[in-house]
């Protein structure tokens, strides 16, 4: 009984932190300024987001065949997701997409609004 509670709590913690990283990755994809920087946020969902969710499911499944299969999925993701990221970045670089370099700061919404009002 207590073991089941521990199992539930641990898997819940893994699942929640995984969802947090996936959400943060989605926010990052929307907020960051250009293609290359957005890829970093997408990589976050690939690594910790997906791995934590799969770990949580593994804890929930216990020592069964299902958790072995989940482990294989986690391993496959661990190997293939960086390869896919590299392929996309390499393709963009070959196509001549110039990265945004130097310091960047998110524009202040109030200032943007004020500027827009002035322009019109």
């Amino acid at each position: 009984m207590t073991l089941e509670i521990i199992q539930l709590v641990v898997s819940g913690a893994f699942l929640i932190s995984g969802v947090f990283f996936v959400l943060a990755g989605a926010v990052g994809v929307l907020r960051l300024p250009d293609f290359y920087t957005r890829m970093h946020a997408a990589g976050m969902t690939d690594t910790l987001g997906a791995e934590f969710i799969i770990f949580g499911l593994m804890v929930q499944a216990g020592f069964t065949q299902t958790s072995l299969k989940l482990f294989l999925i986690a391993f496959l993701l661990f190997l293939t997701s960086p390869t896919a990221s590299h392929a996309v970045a390499d393709a963009a670089h070959h196509a001549g997409l110039k990265p945004l370099l130097g310091k960047f700061r998110a524009p202040n919404p109030a200032e943007v609004k004020a500027n827009k009002v002035e322009k019109h």
Binding site: V27, S85, H86, F104
Partner: protein
């Protein structure tokens, strides 16, 4: 080659049992065994049974995975903090990292480790160098890359600083740049 074949056979049998879960089905058992043998036979015919296609498990690699996972968690925290903060102060940069790995497996491990760590992506590979795009200023630290390079080389038993004999190699493998 015989060692690689034995390892591939063992891995495939374990893989089959993991995915199917059947232990008492004679027909499935026999067909599963036949397909495993067919795959090993085809791999032998294609001449791809070597250390690179069957990278067998080393205990050193487990240590590397643990270290890499720690680095990934650390980098994730930094990227999450930068992305979720209202100001979002980032300084994207592109720079080259030296790479001393002698084998393709070592190079792939190193480049994949860089890409797996959020905040750094390996964009292009050239001879002995990787072009890296970094999101934050704290990730441009070359010492960190050096450590990762040494550790990843050790994990796959890579002969570091080894100069490949280009004349001995077939031309098809030498031309990797444009791929």
């Amino acid at each position: 080659m015989r060692k690689s074949a034995a390892i591939l056979l063992l891995v495939l049998v374990l893989y089959w049992f993991t995915l199917s879960g059947y232990f008492d089905h004679t027909v499935l058992f026999v067909t599963g065994g036949l397909s495993v043998l067919a795959v090993v036979g085809l791999a032998a015919r294609m001449n791809i049974l070597d250390d690179e296609t069957t990278p067998y498990f080393r205990f050193k690699s487990i240590g590397y995975f643990v270290w890499l996972f720690k680095e990934i968690v650390k980098a994730n925290m930094a990227v999450v903090k930068a992305v979720l903060s209202p100001d979002m102060e980032i300084s994207p940069s592109m720079f080259k990292v030296k790479m001393d790995h002698g084998t393709d497996l070592g190079r792939t491990t190193f480049a994949n480790s860089i890409t797996l760590t959020p905040g750094t992506i390996s964009v292009e590979m050239e001879d002995g160098e990787i072009l890296v795009h970094a999101l934050l200023e704290e990730m441009t630290d070359l010492e960190g890359f050096k450590e990762m390079g040494v550790r990843s080389g050790k994990a796959v038993a890579d002969p570091m600083n080894y100069v490949p004999k280009l004349a001995a190699k077939p031309k098809a493998t030498k031309k990797r740049k444009g791929s």
